[in-house]
Symmetry: C2
């Protein structure tokens, strides 16, 4: 490890002690979707070959949702993205071997309880930015991720599981599809996230029942087949469902 | 405030500084069900008339799930109860007015991020025990709760909302129903939690599809009507669904 990096980490430690709440960190699982591919944003740690999730700490004056949004924006430039807090991770043994060579009172070496958030964005619209402890910040395919450091694999798995469960009662698609889209395009998005084929009739009925789609008075021209119907999201119902869930029919 | 309580709080503060992680608390929303009534366990704070949720802190050597279970057991004596972590609350202004008269370096006056857990137990099987800051620990009817301190109303509302959403993809009923139960008894449990009537045919079909019920070769004798079929939970499928959710059919 070069000495300038060592000094930088010590200074960062002092800075965090002043500015941040102790014992609490945030990890962001940032899913990226574009043209039927689902990816995840990962960082490669400086001077090691370990991959991990983008994360950070909570400023003493920050709401935790604000901190999560700040971290997302720092890594991607993306603003106003819906972040879903999905679980807080607090096992005693989730330690950070990356800082083994540093003094024990280093900020980054304390025990952290980490609050997990996930986001789903169009990866073509953003540019990953590495943090000060990393050499790389890159999109990796969801089914071909490298081994992750600490308990980040557990956090990632839980986020993917929760995203898939959330599809049952929260809407998805805004910012990932064009403003006007076809039902097959929406179905493809769900299939990519769920990692499986869906029945077309079931999907159509279920989506209609959710009440988040406006059927438009136009079709998409230009294909060889019958021009498919176009839809847009009913933004009010979409936002309601995002915040309160679909009202499932028991 | 009497001086012995004041001294007790100062001593408690020193004790917590030694034993617990700073900045992190746990709040438990403990739902109690019995004979078609849903209640919630609340504490009435010492020397004030404020009601709040049972809560506590995370020992330096404790996993957070362990801490939540410990708090649940301390307040109810109940062990091996499924606790569901549902959200972490971290707004900057969730302060504790109860400790206003104490010094600023009191443990209990720092800013806490609180991890919310909910549990659902049979309230006839447990005996509420108040903590050292409270005068009462009581079950209150869900639709007739007193005003809650701090952001506890927000935490309680979110827990109830999440419990209701969870009914869509997690099983409920173990420990709340007798070992052998009828479909109407199970439906009644869902209706009490959801706060609304359900369609009998839909309920029956949906429950069957979840695959968590064993239909028994016996019926309940003794009523005036046709003896109803009895069911028990398929414990393996039940536990799988509890941990991973029902595999919804899209």
């Amino acid at each position: 490890m070069d000495s300038s990096f060592y000094k930088f980490v010590l200074a960062s430690s002092e800075e965090h002690k002043k500015r941040c709440l102790p014992s609490i960190s945030i990890d962001c699982v940032i899913f990226g979707f574009h043209k039927n591919q689902l990816k995840i944003l990962l960082l490669n740690a400086y001077d090691s070959n370990e991959w991990g999730l983008p994360g950070g700490y909570v400023g003493k004056e920050e709401d935790i949702d604000y901190s999560a949004n700040r971290i997302l924006e720092e890594r991607t430039g993306a603003k106003n993205i819906y972040l879903s807090q999905f679980k807080t991770f607090g096992k005693t043994n989730r330690s950070e071997s990356f800082f083994d060579k540093f003094p024990d009172d280093l900020w980054h070496k304390q025990r952290f309880i980490s609050i997990g958030y996930y986001a789903l964005i169009d990866y073509e619209n953003v540019s990953p930015v590495k943090d000060e402890f990393s050499e790389l910040c890159e999109w990796k395919n969801i089914d071909d991720t490298p081994t992750l450091m600490m308990d980040h694999q557990v956090i990632f798995n839980k986020a993917l599981e929760q995203l898939r469960v959330d599809l049952n009662y929260k809407p998805v698609g805004h910012n990932l599809l064009p403003e006007k889209f076809t039902m097959p395009e929406l179905q493809k998005l769900y299939e990519v996230i769920l990692g499986k084929k869906l029945n077309r009739g079931n999907f159509y009925r279920k989506m209609k029942r959710f009440g988040i789609l406006n059927k438009l008075d136009e079709t998409r021209k230009g294909g060889a087949h019958k021009a498919p119907d176009l839809y847009s999201f009913n933004q009010e119902n979409y936002n309601n469902a995002l915040n309160y869930g679909f009202q499932e029919i028991w």
